[in-house]
């Protein structure tokens, strides 16, 4: 007894402790999930965000006379980079946009088998062959490197590498005396790195002259739109960057403090086909870095105000509003004046108007021909013209829709005559053998109908339809509605008007 008494409090304590542990286990994660005050920022729940590529800002205000400088050339201050930074800053303020900078893509591809390593190897190979005066081999390696670099957009991600490729390509062509090809190579060099400068006296006079000429020609002839070599390449870059829009900023015009600020925003069209379209464009005269940044900011903000962002995206597919179908129909009346049910077969024509989500109005007409029953109680075949109208309730998806229709039904029976008296069948017009009361002749029936059906999309607006329905008639030209409760099955094809 004493043992039992002593055991009970222990048991209670253990149970209480278990409950406390359970409660603690429930509460602690909740506290851990609470935001830490002044600590590490709590990760924001992920929301759908649109990736927008920010192409490198370029300052194309090249001064050919300043292409070669005394002393060691340093990375000159690039006004274009500031413009790209301004664009990225504006984009970063929008929670539903992820600005994608070349550095982001570059970092994401630093694996050992990176194409950049291959290109760099080809550059080194080309440089060695150039120094060994094995010019054709050098050109082959450099051209291979340039091709590879362009395929993986190293002119955007690693412009210095591509610039070197073009530089040595141009030098090789000059060695070969192919001045025109060298000219193109030097222009490509400037396209990739317009801010690049060279040590004066490092190259022979002729080479410097050729490069200077290329710079002069670049200013005159190279349109800024050819930043990536055309729209198709921009499209490819967006695919590569998994972005749907790109912002390009650059400075053009005369060197120095003059020139223009230009901003372009291109995005993939949401129309079928999804081609690249110019969504925003702005140009202003250069009047200082702040004003240039303001131009970029204004242009990008204006585009963002109207851009399709995930929260503004119309996710609901524009469903069809009208459904027209033609069907083969089969029907039997469950209540008949004949001793056995008889078949009715024909066709149907239906139209449903989806008034709003889940609700539609419908109208339907069936023309059915009756077939002889087992005992020949139908004196003759007859036609049924059945009209139905009402409202429907539907569920729709990409696959089609399911609907439940309710409405009024009207049947016109053309020439219905039935009797179970064989004398009336053999002598239908002989009142002596066949009293009129022995023949039923319902002509019209009015009642209510319900139907359950499904539309399954086959191809585009064409769909397969199946529906089953039943009706009950309350009004007839005969008092007891001798024909009633038709069950119908219909199947066919339909067309949805989008």
């Amino acid at each position: 007894m004493s043992l039992r008494r002593s055991a009970i409090p222990g048991s209670r304590g253990l149970r209480a402790m278990s409950i406390a542990v359970l409660l603690a286990g429930w509460v602690v994660p909740g506290e851990a999930a609470m935001p830490a005050k002044g600590g590490v920022p709590v990760p924001v729940p992920s929301i759908p965000r649109r990736r927008v590529a920010v192409l490198p800002g370029r300052d194309y205000r090249i001064d050919p006379s300043a292409l070669f400088i005394e002393g060691e050339p340093s990375s000159s201050s690039d006004g274009g980079a500031a413009l790209a930074n301004a664009a990225a800053a504006i984009l970063a303020r929008e929670p539903e946009v992820v600005p994608v900078r070349p550095a982001d893509l570059h970092q994401a591809d630093e694996s050992a088998d990176s194409p950049e390593l291959v290109v760099r190897g080809l550059l080194h190979l080309g440089q060695e062959r150039y120094r060994d005066i094995r010019i054709p081999e050098a050109i082959a390696a450099l051209e291979q490197g340039i091709g590879s670099a362009r395929r993986v957009f190293l002119d955007v991600l690693s412009p210095d590498l591509v610039s070197d490729l073009y530089l040595y390509q141009g030098l090789c062509y000059l060695e070969q005396g192919q001045v025109a090809l060298a000219h193109v190579a030097f222009k490509n060099l400037l396209l990739a790195t317009p801010g690049r400068r060279f040590r004066k006296g490092w190259f022979p006079q002729a080479t410097e002259a050729a490069m200077r000429t290329a710079a002069e020609d670049f200013i005159r002839t190279t349109p800024p739109e050819s930043l990536l070599g055309g729209l198709e390449r921009v499209e490819a870059f967006l695919k590569f960057a998994r972005a749907t829009a790109a912002v390009a900023t650059y400075l053009t015009g005369a060197p120095g403090e003059t020139g223009s600020v230009e901003v372009r925003v291109a995005e993939i069209s949401r129309q079928p086909g999804g081609r690249l379209v110019l969504a925003a464009r702005a140009e202003s005269r250069w009047s200082g870095p702040e004003a240039a940044a303001e131009t970029v900011s204004r242009t990008v903000s204006g585009w963002l105000a109207c851009a399709v962002l995930p929260s503004r995206e119309i996710t609901e597919k524009p469903y069809a509003r009208f459904f027209l179908d033609t069907t083969a129909a089969y029907s039997v009346f469950l209540r008949v004046p004949t001793r056995r049910i008889f078949s009715n077969a024909g066709f149907g024509l239906g139209l449903a108007w989806q008034v709003r989500e889940g609700l539609d109005l419908f109208g339907r007409v069936n023309v059915l021909n009756a077939f002889e029953d087992q005992f020949g109680d139908l004196v003759k075949q007859f036609w049924t013209i059945r009209a139905q109208a009402g409202v429907g309730y539907s569920l729709r998806g990409n696959w089609g829709r399911v609907f439940f229709h309710t409405g009024i039904a009207f049947d016109y029976l053309s020439g219905f005559e039935s009797t179970t008296d064989p004398n009336c069948k053999f002598w239908p017009n002989d009142p002596a053998r066949c009293p009129a009361s022995n023949v039923r002749r319902p002509r019209y029936l009015v009642g209510a109908a319900v139907a359950l059906g499904v539309n399954v999309t086959l191809y585009g607006p064409i769909y397969f339809v199946f529906q089953a329905g039943v009706a009950a008639y309350f009004v007839s030209n005969e008092a007891d509605t001798p024909v009633n409760f038709p069950v119908s099955l219909e199947t066919g094809l339909g067309y949805a008007f989008f």
Binding site: Y330, V332, R339, R340, I341, F342, S343, F371, E372, D373, Q374, F375, G376, D377, P422, N423, K425, F426, W427, R433, L489
Partner: protein
Amino acid sequence: MTKGRDLTGCRAVMAMLALVAAAAAGCTDSRLLTGVYRSSPPAPAPATPGTIEGVAGLEGDVYVELVLGQYGTDVVGIIRFFSNRDFTDRIGGTCNCRFLTEGRFDGQFLVFAFTNPSPCAAALTDLIHARLAESGGGDTLEGPVGKDIDGAVPPPSFRFERITTAGDLGATNKVCDETAGVTPADSGPGDEAPDVGEGAE
């Protein structure tokens, strides 16, 4: 779960097929016997008077025509009596025709009755029965016709052959004026001539 769903689907399909089959049953031989039949060879004369149980006028050679309408198991129609094998001469003193009653066809045997045509009285309740076996896809009917077809001595058998099918059956084939033919008919059966004789009951 899937199996159960499949079974449900199977049952639904089977039910639908059964419904269609039941409805299609109306397309079977529900009109097999509809048409005009004539006895051939001529109905044999009764071996002894009373083989047709004393139907006056029908005891000798009698030629019988049946106009049948079959509706499932129900059979209605007319039976006519002639004295010559051309089916032109009515038999004097008897009704020219009688309506069949209680006609039934079970798919093998056609059973019917008709009011004794002799004497030709409307109120007569004396019935003559027939049980004819169908053969040849409804082209031939053969069996006894008499007052007591189930008796120990069955009445003579009649053999009928179809001469008109359902499609050719005209309205005049169906006319029957249950009056006595007092004189030989002046016209034959069929659409071209009236089926009824003249005279009073």
